[in-house]
């Protein structure tokens, strides 16, 4: 065990690692679900062209739109089919996530842009 004295006990090392990992590791709720919007609406909702930006829209706005689409699927609207893929609770998480990334700087340092004010 002498050899091990030069480094901290395992529990301390583990705590350090987990603390470091927690800073980046434990994903915020809704992040993975929201990432599945990015194929069309851009990384963290920052669309590059021809699509609606989601970053910075209010939670109420995104939640309201998605729930409305899901409740009344129009056959010519691809987005309505996407909305139908998520539970109410998941839609809530997605909406909350986008409302947050628009407000705070993201890990990429992407400039936040608010299209509309909160409703």
């Amino acid at each position: 065990m002498k050899l091990h004295l030069k480094r901290p006990p395992r529990s301390v090392a583990l705590a350090l690692l987990l603390a470091a990992a927690a800073a980046h590791g434990a994903p915020p709720a809704g992040r993975l679900l929201a990432a599945q919007c990015a194929q069309c609406h851009g990384t963290d909702g920052q669309a590059v062209a021809g699509m609606e930006k989601l970053a910075g829209e209010s939670e109420g706005e995104i939640y309201g739109e998605l729930v409305k689409m899901k409740a009344n699927i129009k056959p010519d609207e691809i987005m309505h089919r996407q909305a139908a893929g998520y539970t109410d609770a998941q839609i809530r998480l997605i909406a909350r996530y986008f409302a947050t990334v628009g407000r705070s700087a993201t890990t990429t340092g992407a400039v936040s842009s608010r299209r509309k004010s909160d409703d």
Partner: protein, 417 residues
């Protein structure tokens, strides 16, 4: 072993844990290492998102090509609407913005015990977690040489070769397009291509016949859209033959042998049957049954069911989800999230959702779309389509043709920049 747990993480990462207290210069060598093989939609996305979500994880992307040429929109290069530069996606941003190390090399072997990847140039790349995203490989068809008859089912030089063949079809000639048994890359893709070939020949006043030989019993994707296109838009040009399998090719005689007998053609695009990228079988990721074409994985993390710490995403994986670039990107994010959680000692998200969208040009001005959303079903342990989400556009339109470019630009950017 489906879920990584803390005990396994501690066993596997003892060196990493001890190193956490070392000075940062020394510690750098012990940061978690993820190696990704293949820089297509799946591989580029997982590399980018792991780095975005935890920049302490080192990510190395192994890809022999200097840039990725997208299959998505490549039929529009074939018909001259776009150029190769429109579908060529570079790795610069992955390197400069996200700090992904790019190794311009081909992976040739995996050692899952030593946890190393060997490359063609002789490098050995150590990993804590390996992600395989090498796309597809093709079955051989006797007499078929893709250098003579391009499949163009991987974009790049094959795309331009097919474009040249299309341009050379004689007036009134016959163009045979053969579709392999499902599952193959991009379910609507071959039918889309048949439409654009017919459209091109029609617009250039050279239309003879476009003969579609489909190994499947019916149109695999968007049956309403493509039956309508074949019977109405391209009436008298497209001939559709279901349950027709190409068995051999004798191109010096311009003859294609099928299960119904031989057929003559002036030009042909034969898309062979597909399976996971070659590296997978060689590395034991398909198991011992040669009939297994796609890697069995746990859809919560895309970790192989057969080889621990190796994850498979994109067209090579075998969860039954459609083989599309959009879906490859979606799976990459589920995998990235699971890797980030793994290194933080956490289990994967128990309820992942993935989605697919494919836009298919039907004429030079109109397009259709196909979409579906999948969710994890804890009872069967599989990804299942969510009710009411699988749909094709009611009719092709110029609005969808525009929408296709907005979708593709965002998908390209979300995956590569």
């Amino acid at each position: 072993m489906l879920l990584p747990n803390r005990r396994k993480l501690m066993q596997g990462s003892g060196a990493l844990l001890a190193a956490a207290a070392l000075p940062s210069r020394l510690r750098a060598a012990a940061l978690p290492r993820v190696v990704v093989i293949g820089g297509g939609f799946a591989g580029a996305t997982v590399a980018k998102y792991v780095r975005r979500w935890n920049p302490q994880i080192q990510v190395t992307l192994v890809e022999p090509n200097p840039a990725h040429v997208s299959c998505i929109l490549s039929n529009l290069v074939m018909n001259g609407a776009l150029t190769m530069s429109d579908i060529t996606l570079r790795y610069d941003t992955l390197r400069t913005k996200y700090g992904v190390s790019i190794v311009a090399d081909r992976a040739v072997a995996i050692d899952p015990v030593a946890r190393q990847v060997r490359t063609q140039n002789g490098s050995r790349l150590p990993y804590d977690k390996l992600v395989l995203a090498p796309g597809i490989d093709f079955d051989a068809i006797p007499g078929l040489d893709s250098a003579v008859l391009p499949h163009a089912w991987q974009a790049g030089p094959q795309t331009l070769a097919l474009k040249a063949q299309l341009a050379a079809v004689p007036a009134g000639g016959s163009f045979v397009l053969a579709i392999p048994p499902a599952p193959y890359r991009c379910p609507p893709g071959p039918y889309e291509r048949a439409c654009l070939v017919a459209d091109y020949l029609k617009r250039n006043r050279r239309a003879g016949k476009v003969i579609v030989l489909d190994a499947n019993n019916d149109v695999v994707a968007e049956p309403h859209t493509f039956h309508t296109a074949f019977q109405t838009t391209y009436a008298g040009i497209v001939e559709y033959h279901p349950a027709t399998v190409v068995e051999a090719v004798d191109w010096s005689a311009r003859r294609i042998h099928t299960n119904w007998g031989p057929i003559q053609a002036d030009a042909a695009n034969i898309i062979p049957r597909q399976r996971a990228g070659q590296l997978l079988a060689a590395s034991g990721l398909l198991g011992s049954d040669p009939a297994t074409r796609w890697a069995p994985v746990n859809p919560l993390s895309y970790e192989s069911r057969l080889v621990p710490d190796v994850h498979v995403i994109g067209d090579s994986q075998g969860t039954g989800q459609p083989k599309s670039g959009h879906m490859a990107n979606a799976q990459a994010k589920v995998c990235a999230d699971a890797l980030v959680r793994y290194f933080a000692g956490e289990a994967p998200d128990p309820a992942p959702v993935t989605a697919s969208a494919c836009y298919s040009p039907i004429t030079a001005r109109t397009a259709s779309w196909l979409t579906v959303v999948f969710a994890y079903d804890p009872v069967s342990g599989t990804m299942k389509p969510v009710p009411n989400t699988l749909a094709e556009a009611p009719a092709p339109s110029s609005e969808h043709y525009e929408g296709m470019f907005g979708w593709a630009k965002n998908l390209f950017a979300d995956s590569f920049s």
